[in-house]
Symmetry: C2
Subunit: 349 residues, 2 copies
């Protein structure tokens, strides 16, 4: 098939910096939308994937799955989008569409879902490449509509950091009667606070650093608990209906389980590495408590979130960078030196 | 207050056999029911408590919390029971009655719940003593009604083994569309199979021993998976909505998590010891799977179960013993040499 060359930023080896390269995008199929990328958020997964931290990377890799752009071309069977529309693409660009998960709008749990990068493009017969690029071609069923009132750079992280926290908030029925806690104040954590607050919940941040307290309050938290302070942790016993744990490295879940209410759930969304915590089950039994995992969200749920953000005027707090700054941005991310998400202005490419 | 001496079977030290002793029961308060005990089931907890395996036993201890008996006396404010009624008492004989858990019929999660043995009797100012005895005095709010059609020895284990598996079956909404798996075929496991089958679910037993297959089918299982057979385990991937894990010792939960469907839950009900499994969270994240704990059930839920057993003619499979055989029964329990629950005929005392 015919292809289009586009400029991109990626890497050919785990220890090499990202740099400019040219990649191929497939031609526009009847159901495809071609998008000129305006902004792309920078997720921790991008860094892990570029550096092969999970041992599954095929090189060259072009990261990026928090994509906002403008429609430049549509296939002749596309019904939802027109040229000029502002649209978004998240972590998924395809799935099998026939399994029970796909039928239930849970494409993120389809065993054959295709990642925006590191997946497999059946038309190109090649790995998919992500949003650190000028343009992308995606089936309209995996393209999302962006509310017109929102800042386009600020909406990009909603496509991964946002939906990753929104999906458990919705699945576990968070509402104005809920007490929600968030562990960690990074890209995911700050979105979890904003979204839980907008859903009417009482929101607490668990943090190791007292100097994040004012930031958390400004984002919508009602309270901050310093997780290294045993007295504060004891006073929080039995409080929370849902804890969203966004911490992206191995850590002990057990102290947080003590702060769950009867029937409460701690949901892990941030840590995807190979080593995992020892769980003490007795306190779980003594209050019918659960530990769960949750992965991003489905397409319909992501559109629901974008619409919710439009209605409540919610975007991510971002630091906009040029693509040439991506390698130093990765280093700053590793030091948690970002409030709260880097977003690449793709005009810089 | 006045007390009544009753014969009982208990022990004064962790390494001593159980033997006959005399204990005091409180006089009948206005809301109390006095019960002549006919049968008492033998739970693993009895053994652990008698031997101080959990480090919390106060001696002397009289175990037993699967009690069936006949009402012999009622206080002048008792409204639910009359002399001669066949009644039951489970693991709880009191709770605070004012916390949210108590208000929500979840007395088992009340921080101040009073165990049938090893609890604290505020009227006697002394530890509570269990059902290995001639009689017991219990507030009517913690007394249950036994359906008339059921075998009285067979109903005793329903009070702990039964409710411990019933409560998660109900909480996680098991019905005729559910696929349920049970880990372990002991006192709890065999009740889990019977109850899940009676709720209309498709039921699978996970077992290490192929020679339990026919027993499981006879109890109502549709299928048995040998958990040490990797091929069988792989074929079971992604199947179950709920797994009830009844295994009473440390074991690896991770292989079972692979057999959960999206949104599935593995609930631990059997293991209450101090050491716990390492949990690999990635497969949980990749299917929004949960690991939960669950503890017995509330009073209303236990009555619901007894009524369900009456309607479906369900009792436990039991081996009736004399109280003088309790020490050898404990030894046989440790070797899993029981099908599936010992029940003491208290006339032997």
């Amino acid at each position: 098939m015919t292809t289009t060359d586009v400029k991109a930023y990626g890497t050919g080896a785990p220890d090499a910096d990202l740099s400019q390269m040219t990649i191929k995008r497939r031609d526009v199929n009847p159901k495809d939308v071609e998008i000129a990328i305006l902004y792309c958020g920078v997720c921790h997964s991008d860094l892990h994937f570029a550096r092969n931290d999970w041992g599954m990377t095929q090189y060259p890799v072009v990261p990026g799955h928090e994509i906002v752009g403008k429609v430049t071309r549509v296939g002749n069977e596309v019904s939802k989008y027109n040229i000029g529309d502002i649209v978004a693409v998240g972590c998924l660009v395809d799935s099998c569409r026939s399994c029970n998960n796909c039928k239930n709008d849970l494409e993120q749990y389809c065993p054959e879902w295709v990642g925006t990068y590191g997946g497999y493009d059946k038309f190109l017969n090649a790995p998919t490449h992500g949003g650190y690029s000028q343009g992308i071609v995606v089936d309209e069923d995996f393209v999302l509509r962006v509310p017109e009132n929102l800042d386009l750079a600020g909406i990009a992280p909603v496509l991964c950091a946002g939906i990753t926290t929104w999906s458990p908030l919705r699945h576990w029925n968070v509402n104005e009667h809920s007490k929600v806690a968030v562990v960690g104040l990074g890209g995911l954590g700050h979105m979890a606070i904003k979204l839980a607050h907008a859903l009417g919940a009482q929101v607490t941040l668990f943090s190791r650093s007292p100097n994040k307290t004012q930031n958390a309050i400004d984002l919508g938290a009602d309270n901050v608990i310093i997780s290294t302070n045993e007295t504060e942790m004891e006073q929080a016993a039995g409080q929370f209906d849902l804890i969203i744990d966004t911490v992206p490295y191995v850590h002990d879940l057990n102290p947080y389980i003590g702060t769950l209410n009867t029937n409460g759930t701690l949901v892990v969304v941030g840590y995807l590495g190979p080593l995992d915590p020892m769980l003490v089950t007795v306190p779980m039994i003594m209050g019918r408590k659960s530990v769960a995992g949750s992965l991003i969200g489905g397409i319909a749920e992501t559109q629901e979130l974008l619409d919710f953000c439009g209605k409540h005027n919610i975007t991510s707090e971002v630091e906009v960078i040029n693509i040439q700054d991506i390698n130093s941005a990765y280093e700053r991310m590793l030091k948690s030196d970002v409030h709260y998400r880097f977003v690449i202005d793709m005009n810089s490419l």
